[in-house]
């Protein structure tokens, strides 16, 4: 699903990422760990095509990302990669249902209201479809963000710090939900987190060093 070799990313004079090799198989569930500033989020952004690496080669779902122009890369991300953010990042003026329907609309896919309602049902949010984000609890907002990330049936699900600001019980439940939902939807899962509580919750783990040479 993900194949990285010789990946390096530099911000000005500083190397933000240096990864010689990383391979993620289809259906695997990975945890990216490392201290703050180690580049976990940066690596997720590179895999999602939001950042272009300075050097190296990266393939996602069999597609060499360097071979795509900016617009094609955006479309590829929208259709093949689901992103769940730490702060959930739901659009405040839109209802829960509209937030979900935003995903196919932005990726240039046909509207799929039935899919949105089904995801909300599965995630226990069927009665919150018309609610605005500010009317949701933190746990509910996080599940809505997860549903949005899954709307376009992505092959790869990327989650950035999904357990931040959650208590122990909620944190483990959130990771279990991500793992189960990814499996149920046939998606490969990569979670970036420095949360020690979920260290052993996933199949595979990549530890990023705190400082790059």
């Amino acid at each position: 699903m993900i194949s990285i070799s010789g990946l390096r990313l530099r911000y000005g004079d500083t190397w933000a990422l240096d990864l010689a090799e990383w391979r993620v198989g289809v259906g695997e569930r990975w945890l990216l760990t490392g201290p703050s500033g180690s580049g976990k989020s940066t690596l997720l952004h590179v895999v999602a095509g939001l950042l272009r690496p300075t050097e190296g080669r990266i393939e996602v779902d069999g597609q060499d990302l360097a071979g795509l122009d900016a617009a094609a890369l955006d479309r590829f991300r929208g259709r093949r990669i689901g992103l769940a953010f730490q702060g959930h990042h739901l659009l405040a003026p839109l209802s829960v249902l509209d937030n979900l329907q935003l995903a196919p609309a932005m990726a240039g896919l046909p509207a799929d209201r039935a899919r949105a309602l089904e995801l909300l049902r599965v995630l226990g949010l069927a009665d919150r479809a018309g609610a605005k984000p500010h009317e949701l609890s933190q746990g509910q907002a996080q599940r809505v963000a997860l549903a949005r990330a899954l709307m376009n049936r992505p092959a790869l699900l990327l989650a950035d710090e999904p357990t931040a600001n959650l208590d122990d019980e909620q944190a483990l439940a959130a990771v279990d939900l991500l793992a189960k939902t990814a499996r149920d939807n046939g998606a490969t899962l990569v979670i970036a987190s420095h949360d020690g509580r979920i260290r052993d919750r996933l199949d595979r783990r990549l530890d990023l060093p705190g400082r790059w040479p």
């Binding site: 989020s41 940066t42 952004h45 999602a48 939001l50 950042l51 900016a70 617009a71 955006d74 479309r75 991300r77 929208g78 259709r79 992103l83 953010f85 730490q86 702060g87 990042h89 659009l91 405040a92 003026p93 839109l94 509209d98 329907q101 935003l102 995903a103 609309a105 932005m106 990726a107 240039g108 509207a111 949005r148 376009n152 950035d160 710090e161 931040a164 600001n165």
Partner: protein
């Protein structure tokens, strides 16, 4: 969820800011549109009223005043002219048609015009009911006069001295309404027509009281040339060789609109500044909205929206503000024109008047809106999505 739907959702979340931006656009566009409609209406009315009248002959004085009083019936006459001279001029070989007008009285602010049936015929008027006058003190009402006073054939009214009806009433000379004209959309609608003899009869008292009753007089003569060549000689002949004054409605109107045009240009510049202000408002609104929505736009990009799509979303807002503001402005301008037409300038201006310049106004508004949206849209286009998402974590 289309870009338009997303834009509307944002607008619903900030209704006051959006309403103010739309209002500023509507104000600028509406002001210019009202000026355009007003100018076009006046020009059309002037052309319509003066159509077929090559020359107005009256007493010496201001030629502009003579045209205003005798063609448009909006000013006091320059005086009277002897009937004998007017009749002699009517028989001039260069004159095809000469219509006498005798002014001086009014009823409820509507002028009473002593004339012949050639006058309503000149404007294509036809009787809606009744007949034309046959005897002195029989009158035919224009359509607007009849509607305004709810007058009927057979009723009587008394004229007052003076063209605004503020003078003493001629109570001993009541007029009988014998006919009502169908609407023509011309000055005729706002007049009360009667024979010249009626005006003489009403004012005969003043004549008999004078020590030596003078010759009979009329106020003006509307003339149509037999040939365009007459324009070169006849006015000069009248102005230099007689006690009369000849004024060309076309020339006087051209002079008026030249002066009017300068005032219009000043007002247009003012309204243009309003539109520019509206553009700055859009710029400020969109810039503030962009700052508030940086994260939202980054999320849209993360969900697969291309840079062009995000650019389009921001540009669409500027465009939509301008378009809706312009359409609201145009609608308000037509509404205002209709109200002005119905209350103070009946027959001169109306909401149904469309001016070609209005399309240019929409184009202008869209240009300003697009220009104002360009910088915020470009900033959205160039935004660093990864950096924005990274900054807003937690």
């Amino acid at each position: 969820m289309t870009l338009f739907g997303l834009m509307l959702a944002y607008w619903r979340a900030k209704p006051l800011a959006v309403a103010l931006t739309l209002a500023s656009f509507a104000l600028g566009i509406g002001t210019i549109a009202l000026l355009l409609i007003g100018a076009a209406s006046l020009e059309r009315a002037a052309t319509r009223e003066a159509k077929g009248i090559d020359l107005v002959v009256g007493a010496k004085g201001s030629p502009f005043q003579l045209v205003l009083s005798s063609v448009f019936h909006v000013d006091v006459p320059t005086g009277n002219i002897p009937l004998e001279e007017a009749e002699r001029l009517s028989r001039h070989p260069m004159v095809r048609k000469a219509i006498p007008l005798a002014l001086g009285d009014s009823v409820d602010g509507h002028r009473i015009v002593g004339t012949t049936e050639a006058y309503p015929a000149h404007y294509g008027a036809r009787l809606a009911e009744g007949r034309y006058w046959r005897e002195p003190l029989e009158a035919v009402l224009g359509a607007a006069v009849a509607r305004h006073d709810d007058a009927k054939v057979g009723e009587k009214f008394v004229g007052a001295h003076g063209i605004v009806g503020s003078g003493p009433a001629h109570a001993d000379h009541p007029y009988s309404v014998v006919g009502i004209l169908a609407p023509t959309g011309t000055v005729i609608d706002r007049l009360v027509l009667t024979g010249v003899e009626s005006v003489w009869a009403v004012h005969a008292e003043h004549q008999t009281q004078a020590a030596t009753p003078g010759p009979r007089e009329i106020t003006a003569l509307l003339i149509a040339y037999r040939s365009p060549l007459a324009a070169a000689t006849l006015p000069r002949e009248i102005n230099t060789r007689s006690a009369l004054q000849a004024a060309s409605p076309a020339y006087e109107m051209a002079r008026l609109f030249a002066v009017f045009g300068v005032a219009l240009d000043v007002l247009r510049a003012f309204a243009g500044a309003l539109i520019l202000g509206a553009g700055l408002g859009v710029f400020a609104t969109l810039s503030a909205a962009l700052e508030a929505r940086r994260l939202d736009l980054a999320v849209l990009r993360a969900l697969g929206a291309t840079r062009g799509r995000v650019f389009g979303l921001v540009a669409l807002e500027g465009f939509a503000c301008a378009l809706i503001g312009a359409l609201v402005g145009l609608a308000l301008a037509h509404l205002a024109a209709e109200i002005v037409g119905r209350t103070v300038a009946e027959g001169l201006i109306g909401g149904a008047t469309w001016v070609e310049g209005e399309l240019w106004l929409i184009a202008l508004a869209l240009g300003v809106g697009a220009g104002a949206a360009l910088v915020p849209a470009l900033r959205a286009y160039r935004a660093d999505v990864a950096a924005t998402l990274a900054q807003r974590r937690g």
